[in-house]
């Protein structure tokens, strides 16, 4: 690909070259932000985590931390009593929540994609959590005492929790289902509110994908006498599989960075209330590396099964 070419002795841009220049012009804002702000801050953050910082009136001074700069990392992983526990909890919560959210949002999107009366109203209510669970409102809610006693979970804990408990006991005694599976399900039923409110964006993404599947595929398979069940597994599921990848990555990030995540609160508190800049940055980096590894592994596993049409 040549950007320039000599025409009649003058250097002129080829069409390709012009297109490239125009493309760069359009993405200038992002390039400025990414190269000018994002990357420097990322590197600064790494530098902070390896050093001690002193803030003065005119700026700040960095000093290399002890033990070859690794002091904060060592402290977070081996000395600090809270960090490891909260890190493990965050990972555990993520592995419990993410599959449930994915399954629920997929189910809900399928539901909302069917034709029935009041579909418009149902759709707007299903997307309502996008508003309801953002930022400060979620924070207030999780710290609120009355909500905990009056809210759906509190309400459940009185009568329904015992019902759920009885059912799960019944399942364990009279069926061959493994106990962990039954426990997982009963926990899911009790935590339905958390799952529902965390899946607004995912439902949107799945719904968009479902609407993008060409109806002619279904028409053809119906002609051949396929049942709805076969249609679902042979058409809907493969066609939607790229979005399962997108959504699982999004959900993992969302669960790791949500405002009510304990570890996030701990990091913020360490940096701003306790004024331990280096230590806080080190914690954040350990956390980020863990997230990145998990996303890479999960993404790698799922993308093997993903079906692309082209």
């Amino acid at each position: 690909m040549k950007a320039m070419r000599k025409v009649n002795g003058k250097r002129k841009m080829t069409l390709r070259g012009k297109e490239a220049v125009a493309g760069f012009c359009f993405i200038i804002p992002f390039l400025v932000g990414f190269i000018g702000l994002f990357l420097p801050m990322l590197f600064k953050s790494i530098a902070f985590s390896f050093s001690n910082m002193q803030v003065g009136t005119g700026g700040y001074v960095l000093q290399k931390a002890a033990e070859g700069g690794l002091e904060h990392y060592k402290r977070a992983l081996t000395i600090d009593p809270d960090f490891n526990l909260k890190l493990l909890n965050a990972v555990k919560d993520m592995f419990i929540q993410v599959p449930l959210i994915l399954i629920f949002s997929f189910f809900a999107a399928n539901l909302l994609n069917q034709k029935f009366k009041g579909r418009g109203i149902a759709r707007s209510i299903f997307f309502f959590p996008v508003i309801l669970t953002s930022g400060i409102i979620l924070g207030i809610e999780s710290s609120d005492l009355l909500q905990q006693t009056l809210g759906p979970e509190g309400m459940l804990s009185a009568d329904d929790a015992s019902t759920v408990f009885n059912i799960s006991k019944f399942l364990m005694n009279y069926t061959n289902l493994p106990a962990t599976f039954v426990n997982y399900l009963s926990e899911a039923v009790l935590g339905i509110y958390d799952i529902v409110i965390a899946s607004g964006v995912q439902i949107l993404v799945f719904l968009a994908g479902l609407q993008g599947i060409s109806p002619s595929l279904y028409e053809a398979s119906n002609m051949e006498g396929a049942t709805a069940w076969e249609n679902f597994w042979k058409i809907t599921f493969p066609m939607i599989s790229p979005l399962i990848l997108v959504n699982s990555v999004y959900t993992i990030i969302d669960s790791f960075t949500s405002a009510d995540n304990e570890l996030m609160t701990l990091i913020k508190k360490t940096i701003f209330s306790d004024v331990k800049y280096g230590f806080g940055s080190a914690m954040a980096w350990i956390y980020f590396v863990l997230i990145a590894v998990i996303i890479a592994v999960v993404g790698g596993l799922i993308s093997r099964k993903v079906f692309y049409t082209d």
Binding site: G58, F126, I131
Partner: protein, 345 residues
């Protein structure tokens, strides 16, 4: 696609009408539709579906109803075991207190201006970037798009501290320092969020770019080619041809940006904790009101959990009310925009 289906249905429908009906003898009642297993199955399915949809809607809306009922109660009602949902002593007093505690008028305006500005800037900038990624070939495109996704994956908490320092001692290439001898302190102004918005590294901007790119990719190229042939420039094509088509998606992105800035506590708490913004006011609401109450000669020595919770519930209602109105106003576009984005891979 929808249209085709409709057409098909219409054709079927008219065909049925054209077919001669079975003759029924006069006097004999027309038989009801037969209850075939297939029909029974369909009815059962729609009942099950109705129950599930209703149940989920209930789960979503229940907390809002609880808030509404609590906000209309007197505090004594909270401790009364006979009161559930319907307040015994109906009062608007909570609202009066919260409106005053939030300084609603002032903070509403300020929040609206900042959220609107941020959402608008994000929308414009993300649209340009997304269009660039969707339509032009240039070297390193995939790498740069990978960078977009990367910004989405990095949790903002990692960048929290450098960002804070960056805006506390703000400077572009050392210009400010050489002019005034000092760097600029942008904290407690709208500067940081606006700068982040205009450079595409604001809250979840990667997601917006991604959504918009998929949308633009789904629009047939012929539209623009026609414009190019007629001698229309690239930017003008974008403004006059692409933007009108993209209205539903634009509404969606604007709504996301607006809502997330409106309720944001992360950046707001970090960059502008002293500004009169709704999310700032809301987090300290109960204590503020208790203090005001004390000044007026009230006998509130400490904040009871019931009181705090009541104030919080009322406050949350007042904060999300404008968002709900906005959401309902553009929900048609919102749903349509999502439906047509056709996000794949």
């Amino acid at each position: 696609m929808e249209d085709v289906r409709k057409l098909n249905n219409g054709a079927k429908f008219s065909l049925q009408k054209l077919l001669p009906r079975k003759k029924t003898a006069p006097g004999v009642e027309r038989r009801k539709k037969k209850l075939t297993p297939a029909r029974l199955g369909r009815i059962a399915l729609s009942i099950v579906r109705g129950v599930i949809v209703f149940g989920i809607c209930y789960v979503i809306l229940y907390p809002v109803f609880v808030k509404l009922s609590v906000s209309l109660m007197d505090e004594s009602n909270l401790y009364d075991a006979t009161v559930k949902y319907v307040p015994k002593t109906f009062t608007l007093d909570n609202y009066r207190k919260v409106l005053k505690g939030l300084e609603y008028g002032k903070s509403f305006l300020l929040t609206a201006v900042i959220s609107g500005g941020v959402a608008f800037l994000q929308l414009i900038v993300c649209m340009l970037t997304a269009y660039g990624f969707a339509r032009f070939r240039f070297p390193g495109k995939n790498i740069f798009f990978g960078c977009v996704i990367f910004t989405l994956i990095v949790p903002p908490q990692i960048l929290m501290l450098p960002m804070y320092m960056n805006f506390r001692f703000f400077d572009i290439l050392g210009i400010a320092k050489s002019v005034t001898g000092e760097s600029i302190n942008l904290l407690n102004t709208a500067g940081p969020v606006l700068i982040q918005a205009i450079t595409c590294i604001g809250f979840k901007n990667g997601l917006y770019i991604y959504m918009l790119r998929q949308f633009f990719k789904g629009i047939p190229k012929e539209l623009e080619e026609a414009a190019f042939v007629d001698g229309c420039g690239k930017l003008r094509t974008f403004v006059q041809i692409m933007m009108p088509v993209a209205v539903p998606m634009m509404v969606t992105v604007f709504l996301f940006g607006f809502v997330w800035q409106w309720t944001d506590s992360f950046y707001t708490g970090m960059y502008m904790p002293k500004m009169a913004l709704l999310s700032n006011k809301l987090s300290g609401l109960a204590t503020t009101i208790a203090a005001q109450y004390k000044d007026m000669g009230g006998s509130m020595n400490f904040v009871t959990p019931g009181f705090a919770s009541m104030m919080n519930n009322t406050g949350v209602l007042l904060v999300i009310l404008p968002l709900v109105i906005l959401y309902l106003a553009c929900q048609k576009h919102f749903v349509e925009g999502i439906a047509r984005s056709g996000i794949v891979g």
